[in-house]
């Protein structure tokens, strides 16, 4: 498993810092934003003010490190549902442009999703046509209540890449620097026309699957405790502290700014007009069929 930062935030083997400190700070900001949104959104859901919600908690380095390897002016991001910071960073999906000749697609999915046949078909075809795709597998150990070891008996899911003629790498998904590095390599490879890659980021879902879930039914608290010791946010903070770029004051500033950003977004969302029922018939087809048009009239009482 590829790693640059150990859980205490020290560069392994005395390596040189691979990334600009500002870049890492930017990553940390996204990670902290994500964590704060998780808390706030869970609170809102508990108050009945938000629907079902899936937190990113514990996987921030995996999501942010990979998404920061993309070039928003030409690349595409195709998320599952546990990649909120990536979507905030780049939009959902990047759609400012049609896929340009040297654009790369990064797609996210869990170790659970990778058991579906579509994973196989997509990887295999991508290998054949050398599609510029990065398959980013977030192995967070859980698919709702199903643990990784019941999902597959493969030693590593990255090993599956060989069966599609592409490189596969396992990376510490709680290590922002390592995730970013392997992601940039995969993106570069894709951009150079050398084809797809599979990245398996080993991380851990430190919260429930979503707000309807109750992990106490299936999760060993000790496992969760162990995961907390590998918290991806604290790891980056420790790293930056070691580089003189992080202290309590900075942390408070970040948190303050993030909290304001979130509250502003909530206010804005609350002001957004609710969808109108006529929108049920928008964008079904470029033009409604006569039957659909009649149904629309019925719905709007124009029948």
């Amino acid at each position: 498993m590829f790693q640059l930062l150990d859980p205490a935030g020290r560069l392994r083997n005395g390596a040189k810092p691979p990334l600009d400190d500002e870049f890492v700070l930017e990553g940390l900001r996204w990670m902290m934003l994500s964590r704060a949104i998780d808390a706030r959104a869970t609170g809102l859901q508990r108050q009945g003010r938000l629907g079902v919600f899936s937190p990113v908690l514990g996987q921030e380095a995996s999501v942010v490190g990979s998404a920061m390897a993309l070039d928003p002016t030409r690349d595409w991001l195709v998320p599952q549902y546990r990649e909120l910071p990536a979507m905030l960073m780049h939009g959902y999906p990047l759609h400012k442009h049609l896929l340009s000749k040297d654009g790369v697609v990064m797609t996210y999915f869990g170790e659970g999703a990778s058991s579906e046949g579509d994973f196989h078909e997509a990887c295999n075809l991508a290998g054949v046509v050398k599609a510029p795709v990065v398959f980013f597998l977030q192995n967070n150990n859980w698919a709702i209540s199903t643990p990784r070891q019941l999902q597959s008996s493969a030693g590593s899911l990255a090993e599956r890449a060989a069966g599609y003629g592409m490189p596969g790498v396992q990376v510490d998904g709680n290590d922002l620097l390592a995730v970013n590095q392997v992601s940039r390599e995969a993106v570069a490879r894709a951009r150079a026309g050398e084809g797809p890659s599979l990245i398996e980021a080993i991380t851990y879902r430190m919260s429930f699957h979503n707000t309807t879930d109750n992990p106490s039914k299936y999760q060993d608290p000790a496992e969760l405790e162990a995961a907390r010791a590998r918290d991806p946010i604290r790891r980056v903070q420790a790293y930056l502290k070691g580089r003189g770029m992080w202290d309590e004051k900075r942390e408070q500033e970040f948190e303050q700014a993030i909290s304001e950003e979130i509250e502003a977004a909530i206010v804005k969302a609350q002001k957004a007009p609710l969808p109108n029922r006529s929108q049920i018939f928008d964008n079904v087809f470029a033009e409604l069929t006569p039957r659909q048009a009649a149904q629309r009239r019925e719905l709007l009482g124009e029948g």
């Binding site: 079902v52 058991s115 709702i144 209540s145 029922r277 929108q279 049920i280 079904v284 659909q292």
Partner: protein, 325 residues
């Protein structure tokens, strides 16, 4: 008699049949330790062990595929698919495989498989989850399609499904899972397939529905009754086999009929009911048979679903129109 909601009734049936018949195996996503995302299998793994309550990898097609294999090798599998809309992923294993083994093996491999899945909207789940695609499965003529709408039927029909020598798609009304308890016998009983339930009787119009739409019709009938219109409500219970007799008899007496379902209108199973009734009760009809269904669009955003799904109001309006025709 104990009172149960639908979840409890299903769990009761599973427990009962797993106790009675050692060949019964439950498999699916999260059915084990979690007890299912709706808790229908809660406690079963503790009771019957990991060999009989199996958490599978996340792959619907091979859940159905395994059920086929288990049945061929002598077991009686009950596969759970988390939402009927996830059978999109398993479509090729459902009708085209599960529904053909007896036929293509000339009777050598009957498949006593039950596939359970909740269906329907109204709980603000996004697309896929609520997709009401029951009619698609009817086009595979060797699957039985059954849809209980209440706790009593849920237990009795599930026991019937598991014991049925043929594959049964057992569709549960998600919206009604915990909507009130009703009396459910503690003992063993089955509700036979192909026998509709007359929920209430009235002389003016017949409302036909299945699954959660039965409850919509009941509310509509209540409202109509306040307006002096007496409606019969028929809960079809099973689409395959279809109880044509009960349908025809009722429409012969009321002369008017509205079919209500959650699937989009076009090519929904309502069309089959209409086609069947107009053929067999043609000369008793006082007005064309009407359908109230969801509109012909993909499942809308959660905030709009109540406008999209058939409502008691829409049913009432449609009945009024029929009566004034």
């Amino acid at each position: 008699m104990p009172e149960m909601n639908i979840i409890e009734a299903i769990r009761d049936a599973l427990t009962m049949e797993m106790t009675r018949d050692e060949r019964v195996i439950v498999l699916g996503l999260d059915v084990g330790r979690l007890g299912g995302v709706f808790r229908t299998t809660d406690g079963l793994q503790q009771r019957f062990g990991k060999d009989r309550v199996v958490d599978t990898p996340l792959a619907e097609a091979v859940i159905i595929g395994s059920a086929i294999g288990l049945a061929i090798s002598g077991m009686v599998p009950v596969a759970e698919i988390q939402f009927l809309g996830f059978t999109h992923q398993a479509f090729h294993q459902m009708g085209a495989q599960l529904g053909r083994f007896r036929y293509r093996s000339r009777g050598r491999y009957p498949l006593p498989v039950t596939v359970r899945a909740p269906m329907g909207g109204g709980t603000k789940t996004p697309e896929f989850h609520p997709d009401a695609i029951e009619a698609q499965f009817v086009q595979y003529p060797a699957l039985k399609i059954v849809l209980p709408s209440n706790p009593y039927d849920a237990k009795g029909m599930l026991l019937q499904a598991i014991r049925d020598p043929d594959p049964v798609l057992f569709i549960e009304p998600e919206r009604l899972y915990r909507k009130g308890r009703a009396e459910v016998p503690a003992e063993d009983y089955t509700v036979p397939f192909g026998k509709a339930r007359i929920v209430r009787e009235g002389k003016d119009v017949t409302l036909v529905a299945w699954s959660a739409a039965v409850e919509v019709c009941e509310r509509a009938a209540e409202q109509l009754s306040g307006e002096g219109v007496q409606a019969t409500v028929i809960d079809l219970r099973t689409l395959v086999p279809l109880d044509e007799e009960t349908l025809v008899k009722s429409v012969e007496s009321t002369g008017r009929c509205v079919v209500v379902h959650e699937a989009p209108l076009s090519a929904g199973f309502g069309a089959e009911i209409v086609a069947t009734l107009q053929e067999n009760a043609f000369f008793s009809l006082d007005a064309p048979i009407a359908r109230v269904a969801s509109y012909d669009t993909p499942y809308p955003p959660a905030s709009l679903e109540s406008h999209w799904l058939p409502s008691p109001d829409r049913v009432v309006k449609r009945v009024r129109k029929l009566l004034s025709a």
